[in-house]
Amino acid sequence: MDIDDILQEFETATSRKETKKTPTTLYDELVVAMVNERMAPELLPFKHELLQKVLAQISNQQQFLLDSHEYGDVNAESGVVTGDFKLQLMIIETDIERINYLIRLYLRTRLSKIDKFTIFYINETADEDPDSKDRLLSSQEQKYMHQHFKILTRLYNNCFLKRLPHTLTLLDDTSGGQSMIVEPDLNQPVFVKSITDKPITISLGEDDELDLVNDGIYVVKYKLVRDYISIGDVVMI
């Protein structure tokens, strides 16, 4: 074993111990992002950086697989493909599939929320700077949202809307005590877990408070832990 390997093993062993709670690997980050997105009643800010990183890595690994299938193990003498190398490639392929699956769920969960609250998010994102790095939606999602709203409106129009009196053709009418704009309900109860040693106290109204302790599992209104979720002290489970 060479010195690099020893150092590296030492590194991973220590870093693992220190950071047991906060997600460090891309995989852990993806899992947290996916689960938070699944459980939160609202659309969470798109993980621009994480997705960019993961997608780049997937494409690297895909290329590595292609090359290896074609040329064999470049590190081995005379291009011999050993059983071990084959097994490693299989593990790499499985890893890609696993990450692929997480991204699939993450993205499709987001689309389903965009579809549920379309007009609300069209309004929410109307004033966003299109070049900003922390936009709520990815640019693909933004495009999807507007285009989907367009074809849905066309569907309503062709089925009945265009034959209704003009005053009834709005899709974002909020008059008469009945809003047509469906919004996420931030008061919905959710399961959360605190993952920080810092004490967290949330207010439950008048003079009632709740302390969230490290590792504790709670059901609380989403709105009350929303900020802690965004900084990562609390995760949804």
Partner: protein, 215 residues
């Protein structure tokens, strides 16, 4: 009474939520509801033209107008909710990336995706005959929209299985002799009783044909 037809439509939608296929479009019912709205609108226009003849008349006029407008709004809400549910189911089906029933250009065979889910409300079948023209158009437009969205993620199969990947590679045993099998991971010979670790998708047909069994 006004709104009764729309109620029928909503009951149909409610039943639909639990189905794995989209039932026939209720064209006649929708037409009748549109007619009802148009009639109500004529009433409303008439009522709005009435100039007030004193307080009493104004009160009556107000009340009649309220009832008329509320009935129209109720009908509109029901029409939209009905169509939205159908659109949602059409889109849900589109994500499966399989051909609808009655598509003359069908290429992929109709797999038994429906059987894999214990959830009876997952839209796993779509018969084009049950859609109206606008819905068929929407289905196509949504497929295009989906394709465009997916094109940004070349390496991700967004229509792939929503069950976690398990057994991408499996151990198999050869049940009967055959020839050589080529895969990306090299070739192997079908010799009875030998065992291999292979990609499942590479050998699915051989398993069906009885050459291999999964261990």
């Amino acid at each position: 009474m006004y709104g009764d037809l729309a109620n029928k439509l909503i009951l149909d939608a409610k039943r639909t939520t639990n189905l794995s296929a989209l039932p026939l479009y209720q064209g006649d019912l929708v037409k009748d509801i549109i007619k009802e709205i148009q009639d109500l609108n004529k009433d409303a226009e008439f009522l709005e033209e009435q100039t007030d003849d004193g307080d009493e008349q104004l009160k009556i006029n107000q009340c009649q107008l309220f009832v008329t407008h509320l009935s129209m709004r109720r009908n509109k809400r029901c029409l939209l909710a009905y169509e939205r549910l159908r659109a949602e189911k059409v889109a849900e089906f589109a994500w499966l990336n399989i051909d609808p029933i009655g598509d003359p250009n069908a290429t992929k065979s109709h797999t038994t995706i429906a059987d894999n889910y214990i959830y009876s409300n997952y839209t796993t079948q779509l018969s084009l005959d049950n859609l109206n023209h606008a819905e068929e158009e929407y289905f196509k437009a949504y497929q295009d929209l989906m394709l465009e969205y997916k094109s940004a993620f070349a390496d991700i199969d967004l229509s792939g299985d929503l069950e976690p990947p398990t057994n991408i590679f499996i151990d198999v045993r050869v049940l009967k002799d055959g020839g050589e099998v080529q895969t990306e991971y090299g070739s192997f010979n079908l010799i009875k009783d030998s065992q291999f670790y292979v990609r499942k998708s590479d050998v699915e047909r051989l398993i069906q044909q009885g050459y291999l069994e999964e261990l």
